[in-house]
Subunit: 221 residues, 2 copies
C-alpha cells in the first residue's frame, strides 16, 4: 500500500495530497508529528521534513520533486503543461507560494497562531502576525491581478501552481486567517478548487484542540 | 542582448550562471544590489529577488524555474536526465541545497559573516555561526556518503544538483568557510566542477572591501 507521511496542516503535504487526489493515486495517510523527529522518521527522510511518500518500494521527499515525478509518471490530468514557457510559469508560481508566500504569510500567520500552539513551542509573536497580515493583502492583490488575465493562476488551464497556492490558503483558512472579501476573483478561484473531489480530504482535517473555523469546510463560504 | 541581473555572492544566481555557462548562452551580467530594491528592479521582478534573467523579450525569475526552462529549451548538455526517477533525484537534491542547506548553513555562515557586512545590516550572530558550523559538518558527510555511491551527487552524470551544491559551496568558500579536509570525496568532486570553463566567471568575482580568501580561485586548493 502506498503511504503518505504527512501533517494535516502542512501546505507542502497538502500540495502533494491534492496532486495524488487529482491523479487518483490511492495512498494511506499516516500522520507524522515531524517536529518530534523520531528515529524511524529520520531514517525515511534524512531532511526530517514532511511530506514523505512511499510509493511501491520507493521513498520520496521534497514536495515539488514529488509532484513533478507524479506528473511525469501519471500523466492524467496533466498538472504541468507541455510548453516550456507555460511550464516555467507554473514552476515560478509554485516557488512564489512555497518560498515567498510561505516566508511572508504562512510562516507569520499560520505557524505563529496555530502551529506554535499545536507543537507547544511558545506564544505567537505579535510583530510577525502584523507583518503577515500586511503582506497577505499584497499577495491577495497579486493573485487577483493574475486572475484578471487568466482563468487559473498560471494560465488558462488548472495546474500545480493552483494547488500550491490553494494548499497555503487552505491552511490559513483553517484558522480563519483569510479575508475572502478583499478580492472576489480570489474567492471565486478558491471556490472552484474547493469544490473538487481531491479537496475533500483536506476539508475533513481536524487537529485535536484546534478545530477549524465554521466555514472552513463550507463550499458556500 | 541577454542580461542576468544578479549579485556575485548569491548561490541562486551562481546556479543560473553555471547553467548558462554550460549551455554556452551568452549573457551580460548586471550587478543588482537587491537589498536596496530600486523601483526599476521591482518592476522586473515583483518578488524583489535575484536572479532575474532577460532572455530576448522574456523576463524570468526564480532560479530553479529558470534552470528547468533553460534545460528544456537548450538541451545540450543535458543537466536534468530523461528518466523520471533520475529527474526526481536531481530535483530532490536541488531542493535539499536551495532550501535545507541554504537555511542551515549558507544563511548562518555566508550571510552572517559576509553578506551582513556587504549589505551593512548589522553584526554577525555568534550563535547562528556556531549552529552553521555544526550543521555544515553533517552536510559534508551527507555529500560524501552520496559520492561514495555515485560519480556525481545525483547519479553517474553531472546534473543541475551538482551546480546547486557547488553554487552554495563556492559562496561559502569565498569567505574561507569550507573545511576541505573533512571529506576528500567532496574536495575531489568540487575540484572537478571548479575546473570547468563555466566556473571561471565565479572565480573572478570580487566584492569591493571583501576580497576572497587566497585559494578561492586556485584550482589546486
Amino acid at each position: 500500500m502506498n503511504r503518505l507521511f504527512h501533517f494535516p496542516l502542512s501546505p507542502f503535504c497538502r500540495k502533494v495530497r491534492l496532486t495524488l487526489g487529482e491523479k487518483r493515486i490511492e495512498v494511506e495517510l499516516v500522520e507524522e508529528r515531524y517536529w518530534e523527529q523520531g528515529a524511524e522518521f529520520l531514517r525515511r527522510n534524512p531532511a526530517g521534513k514532511v511530506p514523505v511518500l512511499r510509493l511501491g518500494d520507493r521513498v520520496l521527499s521534497e514536495s515539488q520533486a514529488i509532484c513533478e515525478y507524479l506528473d511525469e509518471t501519471v500523466p492524467e490530468p496533466q498538472l504541468i503543461p507541455r510548453d516550456p514557457m507555460k511550464r516555467y510559469e507554473v514552476r515560478r508560481l509554485c516557488a512564489w507560494f512555497d518560498d515567498k508566500f510561505h516566508h511572508e504569510v504562512t510562516a507569520k500567520l499560520h505557524y505563529e497562531r496555530l502551529m506554535k500552539k499545536v507543537t507547544k513551542s511558545g506564544y505567537p509573536d505579535g510583530k510577525a502576525i502584523r507583518e503577515g497580515v500586511a503582506r497577505f493583502k499584497y499577495h491577495l492583490d497579486y493573485m487577483a491581478w493574475l486572475l484578471e488575465q487568466r482563468r487559473w493562476l498560471a494560465g488558462d488551464q488548472m495546474t500545480l501552481a493552483d494547488f500550491a497556492a490553494a494548499a497555503h490558503l487552505s491552511c490559513l483558512d483553517y484558522g480563519a486567517d483569510v479575508d475572502w472579501h478583499r478580492q472576489s476573483a480570489v474567492k471565486d478561484w478558491y471556490a472552484k478548487i474547493k469544490s473538487r473531489p481531491s479537496f475533500r480530504s483536506l476539508l475533513a482535517d481536524q487537529v485535536p484542540g484546534s478545530p477549524p473555523h465554521a466555514d472552513y469546510a463550507n463550499l458556500d463560504f
